[in-house]
Symmetry: C2
Subunit: 352 residues, 2 copies
Amino acid sequence: MEKWRIENFYIYLLMKANFEGGLRMRIAIDAMGGDFAPKEIVLGAVEGAMEYGVEAILVGDEKQIYTYLKDCPKTELIKVRHASEVIEMGESPSKGVRKKKDASIVVSAQLVGEGEADAMVSAGNTGAAVAACLFKIGRIPGVERPAVATLWPGIYGTVIMLDAGANKDCKPEFLLQFALMGDLLAKTAYNIEKPKIGLLNIGEESTKGNDLTLKAYKLLSKADINFIGNVEGTELLFNKANVVVCDGFTGNMVLKTGEGVANFIVTLLKQEAVKIWSDKNFSEEFKTIMSKAQKRLDYTEHGGAPLVGINGICIITHGRAIAKTIKNAIKMAMEFVKSGVVKEISCKFHVE
Amino acid sequence: MEKWRIENFYIYLLMKANFEGGLRMRIAIDAMGGDFAPKEIVLGAVEGAMEYGVEAILVGDEKQIYTYLKDCPKTELIKVRHASEVIEMGESPSKGVRKKKDASIVVSAQLVGEGEADAMVSAGNTGAAVAACLFKIGRIPGVERPAVATLWPGIYGTVIMLDAGANKDCKPEFLLQFALMGDLLAKTAYNIEKPKIGLLNIGEESTKGNDLTLKAYKLLSKADINFIGNVEGTELLFNKANVVVCDGFTGNMVLKTGEGVANFIVTLLKQEAVKIWSDKNFSEEFKTIMSKAQKRLDYTEHGGAPLVGINGICIITHGRAIAKTIKNAIKMAMEFVKSGVVKEISCKFHVE
């Protein structure tokens, strides 16, 4: 994340130059996905497009999209692509994608698959995003299962964890592939020369774990990566590894538990603070500390989670995404396109 | 937890009366288990025995035990049972228990199995505690797998989560049994009339989850319990359910992640606080808030985790247990003996 902030101006200049030279990156945005769609998605897309000089293709119900675009600054960077259907959050992803061929999330993936967009962003149903990408963009040859890579704001910098939810039941071989993909992601998108790769597990020793992690440990030990062994939940955020692999059920569980515990502690602290300062007249110092810490944890500050292993770039962002989240997801999508990670994974898996 | 605090004096009186009447509860304490053994274990056992009027049988190397007992107040409530071996933290539980028949953890379980103690407490290797209990105390007939029940300090009171690590790979049927045992634990030891039982999962809907949770959901729906559906990691500490079931790998992962995220947030807050008050000259209010919140999260304040499904009571406490932890674990052991939970589970599983 930090790196991107620093490079922000540089990226802008580069994109601007490309744009002025007739080349510009095109990002398909699922305008109908997320709790605050389409309003926040539309606003974020406009902000992102203008700030980074990319073309944002808003995909969804054009009538609703134009309603919100009306109040935005006019820019030729915004395009609208009508899509008549929406896959809801509770809907079965595979059935939804099969049935609703004109759903905004499916059409967004189709634009990437057909080369009309360089990347896509969605705050919709994660399962549907994965299914739509598999259906319309396809896997990189050799990749068995694409994975959602989540970026944790560790104490000393970003920690990449995959899979965070695309594959609920995994074979040990999938975890090996996640490690190989995570390794390339860390190298290309984060400029980490020799990423430390860990296996998320319930003990430090190689003899600890369930059937899946015990077998995966053996495979990872033999792989051509810098495997540092097991990483426990206690160590995840303290940057023991740059990349941590796990099955999608465990990854999603850990992610949600982390969110829950963070909220729990903030609640505890506020309960104690109210005992000191009644009527929530918290001291300025306490308010500053809390808001700065919460900012570091805030999902709206980060872009989202890339889906790796597909033949293109898809950023899956938080279901509660607001405009700022979408703007940041656009920046992340640009970064991943620029990083060439898809090409790197293709080469790696083609050779092996 | 709260309940115990209130009942503290009552328990003491009851125990004292029993003790004076010639009956006293006997608790076997594995003196060699944990990072600070035997010193902290011995000190905690003496404190606990004297405070609650129970007999503490310290099991382990007698020479070392007597060294630390020398400095303690003299009391006839302390007994020592020599055991010449120790199962180390990194050691294979099953091999360790098979080979080291005179290990402190094995002998502690043996005392319970042979009726020489009413309960045991250990801060040693969790796997070894489970293996020793299975070997020397045995399962309650009908119980397929005993489970470690962890007690989370939820915002509105204790949340029981099981299994927290005894069974790394589970069948759906095991989760059903965990739910039945957790239900009885909540009723007997926590006086909750109709405990809300949840399934730890990665989505609210019944269609969410991995193969295990999808199948377990169906079994739980049909069981004679107050099943309220899936509980996500975000909701665990906000008391959506009184009892939450999961496989031991997931439970242990969630437990350690919770610990890690809590440490992470405390670190973040202190990093921000140092920016305001240099040289760690934090305001008194900030220090009070932090220490009170940390106290609510502190494992040394809580006793430990009961192993349910065995034909006796075993409290597995934190590997970093200090004297206070052991004292609290003794109190918890007494409470569980008194609750009659073993008898309740025996009846339930005998009938079914």
